[in-house]
Symmetry: C2
Subunit: 426 residues, 2 copies
Amino acid sequence: MKKIILPPPHAWPELAQRPTKEPAQLEALVKEVFNAVAEQSDAAVKDYTARFDCTVLNDLAIPAGAIQAAARQISPTLQEAMAVAAHNIEVFHTMQREVPCVIETSPGVRCWRESRPLECVGIYIPGGSAPLFSTVLMLGIPARLAGCRQIVLCTPPNTEGKVHPAILYAASITGVTAVFRVGGIQAIAAMSIGTSSIPKVDKIFGPGNQYVTAAKQYAQRLGTAIDMPAGPSEVLIIADHTARPDFVAADLLSQAEHGPDSQVVLLSPDEALVQHTLLEIDRQLQTLPRQDIARQALAHSRAIVLPDMEACMAFSNLYAPEHLIIAAEQAARYAPLVQHAGSVFLGHYSCESAGDYASGTNHTLPTNGFARQYSGVSLDSFVKKITFQEISREGIQRIGPAIQAMAKAEALEAHRRAVAVRLADA
Amino acid sequence: MKKIILPPPHAWPELAQRPTKEPAQLEALVKEVFNAVAEQSDAAVKDYTARFDCTVLNDLAIPAGAIQAAARQISPTLQEAMAVAAHNIEVFHTMQREVPCVIETSPGVRCWRESRPLECVGIYIPGGSAPLFSTVLMLGIPARLAGCRQIVLCTPPNTEGKVHPAILYAASITGVTAVFRVGGIQAIAAMSIGTSSIPKVDKIFGPGNQYVTAAKQYAQRLGTAIDMPAGPSEVLIIADHTARPDFVAADLLSQAEHGPDSQVVLLSPDEALVQHTLLEIDRQLQTLPRQDIARQALAHSRAIVLPDMEACMAFSNLYAPEHLIIAAEQAARYAPLVQHAGSVFLGHYSCESAGDYASGTNHTLPTNGFARQYSGVSLDSFVKKITFQEISREGIQRIGPAIQAMAKAEALEAHRRAVAVRLADA
């Protein structure tokens, strides 16, 4: 981790930059897979699964029996942990329900909006050495709360054609309606286009590698909505002199272990705190199972000493982190200064792990500076908000003249007449 | 307008399809313009303006004086009409402000979310024979209410390098901070990349032709957010026997006059109403200034007789219209049946023109079936919602064991330790 002391403000923009990465040139491959799935449906999906995941499947769907049976393979401790997380996620996302509120903008002109669920959503869960069941909870629970009729989950099978029981168990407790053992570009193509087994979905959610990311972008161009643009995960920690170096180091490492391209940034007005934290990182790294990954992430990460907490907040807004931890005394007083961030953790006991798993907030968040423009996943991500209006005979008399004047000035005579014909009657 | 009587349900999907249109192959041109703007900044923007808009500009910005002077060129009637519309738009969108509400998901675990404005947004207003100032109100007002610091407007100049005073006046009353006389691909490129005159924006809003649409899609791939995918405007009207054929015809025509590719659909269980409406359309068309455009739109439009109002609602949900008018007795009782629509107009006096201009709802809405997945523009479109959490020492003790169990099962040891180090202290 590179230490930088009091950089002048004109140097900030460069320090706030993510390491540039050439976007992978995957368009040709993505197009090939999408075209094959469009033409050959399940057969193409099975072909690519054989080629990329080295397993030959008869059926893409996991049978309902296997999903129910998964509970027997999950320890009671883990089941209980998931229940705690599911409860908190449900409580927090339920609060995001919007109650329709009718407003009379002018006398006789009643307007409101109502939420309606997306009908069919797709959740992608990456494969890998460990099962990322927490993302099943983070996406499945708000989908169910929103009232989505079909919640489809795709995840790559292992070489025996199996899906980890923790993923199946998480699916069973969140209301996922169908699980398919399909991964990679072919999974995104199948959910975007629809096959004989896999339904076409309205929106695709979830993380993935560069292939999945490229496939989601391509699906978006074809008309399937996606949750948000993707990038490597990241945390920015602002720590004052009251912060505990061992806590801060642990939080930085919990982000760094995600992947070699993870980003971690430490800001502090206290140089001693920075120094102690760097020592703590070295100490904690010694026994970390994923220390190789964490070291690679730390190699392109920065610890920056800045003049004061306000400067730290300003730098953070420039960086627009996915996760922002404010490890400071009375941390809540800095909340109003947060302009751009995905999710904010206030105080010494609010570690990112809490939000990753169990506090109730969503862990699907904008990375790579997209926190400037995008919100994380919430109940809103699974609904549309439809506006309604009901105008009375008196209402149209009231606003009709304004509509007519504006339609005339825009040279849209039929728009004007739609009002005139009603005023003539009123 | 083609009349179809009681089509069997298996024929519905084809009837609900929009006329397929090959997407224009504009990528090479879009890329050229973006690259030129990235390399030569304002000079490239001026070059393309000279080439496409046939006007040579010294300055891209409209001077503040010219914006203030616009009011003198606008009739008091139109000023008053815009004031009525602005008031209603402001009232309706102010209601969409979310009040932060802190919830304790578990004892000691406090979570909430807060809205923050996008910092800099871009509004695109197309050129053409008439000035589309109503869209300035629909995008500028919520941007100002959200608290966006910079609200940039781009619109093509006429051959004299001028922008219509109605657009400048609308900009002045909505809080637009800068107006640039730039249109087409070069306007989108400039707002996406930033030039010496035109700021780089976080999100681009507004309608446009196929060039602008292609440029917005390209901007999105480069990382600039956009409001929503675009398509031709459309209305679907469901009318029962109480509907007035002259009202319904006027509403269909007000959509048909938008452009030759506009879509209008009429559904009714009452064949006589359909017949009378078609006659009314013919009658009203005779004196319509834009009858040529309307006739082209009507040529590929449909009036469909269905068994009952429930069938009409089901067909409408299949079509997912941008605008849905329910011209029926006690229309509000059908509101709960609406699943997919952009904006809904209930009853005989709620004409689409009202929502287009002055009732207060937003007229930037999802077309082309995107109402299945997307909401129209609202205050939400101009903010991010950031989640916050503040966990006490007791809180982490409460949910810590669940976090540790889940992190362990996902093989993320540093995540687990970030909790363990805090529990050891607690």
